[in-house]
């Protein structure tokens, strides 16, 4: 993507936000539960995290994507993912936040039906759009469970979902993350979250905010041999390897033109022969 196109899209996005903002609850931009609030609730044990799905332990595939961002018209790209489920043998999918555009009740209903219509199990973590109404966090946790949690698939691949809906991780989530990563090298580890850590040579605003948090997170990913960190938010595709850690911005499933020219699609991981490979799937 060219930098001029990128800046234009950022400007268009801001204009879009200004125009569409009447459906947001503007107070939530400030009054939302903080990441510390949400993480402490996640770790309280009161929220039920989804368990491991049953897969062929020797070979399985799963999709990761972000930002379906359905609106009232319920236009989205999940039907195209559904079409790939059989063809590509996708056992489950991971949705990395921003499920709806405005987080309104009708959009909530739509996205849950759409997720279920794909017909395979799924895991979810939260994005900033999911907090745009006063009941956003309540809806998320009662519908999907915690926003940060681990799950181990086939006793070999560990998925760790982080809550970065504010663009921050916070100290409690960092402590929890390190305890989850410190597994003695038993698992192939993938971290899934909404905000990316890096966003190329001319980044706009859309990545985790704090310099200290970004450097600490990269340190932990390196230290514990994480295979990949996968994120959304940017509505584009990017793959960067930083000291052996794959950083993916996995494209977008959003309707409309809000992508950086990389097309709609998802990231497909395949576990086979005790190793993990990946493939970018772009919808035609």
């Amino acid at each position: 993507m060219s930098s001029s196109r990128r800046r234009l899209l950022v400007a268009c996005s801001l204009v879009f936000v200004a125009l569409a903002g009447c459906e947001y609850d503007w107070g939530q931009f400030i009054a939302h539960p903080t990441v510390e609030d949400r993480v402490r609730e996640n770790l309280s044990g009161r929220l039920h995290a989804p368990g491991p799905v049953a897969v062929d332990p020797d070979s399985f595939s799963f999709a990761m994507f972000g930002d379906p961002q359905v609106e009232h018209d319920n236009v989205n790209n999940l039907g195209r993912l559904k079409a790939d489920v059989s063809a590509k043998g996708i056992a489950f999918f991971c949705a990395l936040g921003d499920f709806t555009e405005h987080s309104t009740p009708d959009e909530h209903d739509s996205i849950v039906k759409d997720f279920q219509s794909v017909g395979i199990p799924y895991y979810a973590t939260i994005g900033n759009h999911d907090l745009y109404q006063p009941d956003g966090w309540e809806w998320f946790k009662t519908t999907f469970g915690p926003s940060c949690y681990p799950v181990v698939i086939a006793d070999r691949v560990k998925l760790i979902f982080l809550d970065t809906a504010d663009g921050l991780l916070g100290p409690t989530q960092f402590d929890w993350l390190e305890s989850e990563l410190d597994d003695g090298g038993r698992y192939i580890k993938i971290v899934g979250t909404h905000f990316p850590v890096f966003d190329g040579p001319e980044p706009a605003m859309g990545r985790t905010a704090s310099t200290g948090e970004r450097f600490k997170l990269q340190h932990l990913l390196q230290k514990y041999g994480v295979h990949s960190i996968v994120s959304g938010h940017i509505h584009g595709w990017r793959h960067t390897v930083v000291e052996g850690v794959n950083h993916f911005i996995c494209g977008t499933m959003a309707p409309g033109g809000f992508d950086y020219g990389s097309g709609k699609g998802y990231l497909l991981f395949t576990f086979a022969h005790d190793s993990l490979s990946w493939q970018r799937v772009v919808f035609d």
Binding site: F29, N128, D166, F198, A204, R207, T208, V242, E243
Partner: protein, 195 residues
């Protein structure tokens, strides 16, 4: 907690050189940051000038560091108001054994960031002045585009060439997602001696 020191040499009426060093005492013990810079006043009209510098910042516990080079166009269009805008090249470093070098500019994730600084001195007395600032570049740090740092700065003349300086600030985080939150509050206190 950081302990820092910096110095400024006004080589010429229109040209100055700055340098600084900061040490971490509680976490990341050891060297935290190095700074070297220069600034020049080009035009008396509007106090138009240029500033440039290099910075090195490191976090020893995380074996991570970053080298930065930056340039700014500065202006003082009216008394008490200072403006600056420019760009920084950042080279984050994560390789063990290389992150601590201020001379290593090979990064897997280099990037360019826009810089800005607005400072308004709204209170000026014989012995003291207080300013409000919004800036993503300061003595040792360049903040991410996702943050909007702001705060207050004050100076108090202790007599003769000694000044007491104070600065406090925080940052609005999360702009791109519109889920806003304030970062940690940073407080700096120091003394300045003019020679």
């Amino acid at each position: 907690m950081l302990v820092g020191s910096d110095a400024r040499w006004q080589v010429h009426r229109r040209f100055g050189i700055t340098g600084g060093v900061a040490l971490s005492l509680v976490q990341h013990n050891g060297l935290s940051a190095l700074a070297l810079g220069a600034d020049a006043s080009l035009l008396d009209f509007g106090d138009i000038g240029l500033a440039a510098g290099v910075r090195h910042e490191q976090w020893n516990d995380w074996q991570a560091g970053e080298n930065r080079a930056f340039g700014l166009v500065t202006a003082g269009p009216t008394r008490g108001l200072e403006l600056a805008a420019g760009a920084a090249y950042r080279a984050p470093l994560f390789a063990a054994g290389r992150y601590a070098s201020p001379f290593n500019w090979q990064s897997p994730v280099p990037e360019w960031n826009l810089l800005y600084r607005v400072e308004w001195t709204f209170l000026r007395r014989k012995q003291a002045e207080v300013s409000a600032w919004i800036a993503n570049v300061d003595r040792f740090t360049v903040h991410n585009p996702q943050q909007v740092p702001f705060g207050l700065r004050g100076a108090y003349n202790l007599g003769r060439e000694w000044n007491l300086l104070g600065r406090c600030g925080t940052a609005i985080n999360g702009l791109s997602g519109l889920i806003l939150s304030l970062g940690e509050v940073a407080v700096e206190v120091g003394v300045q001696r003019e020679f």
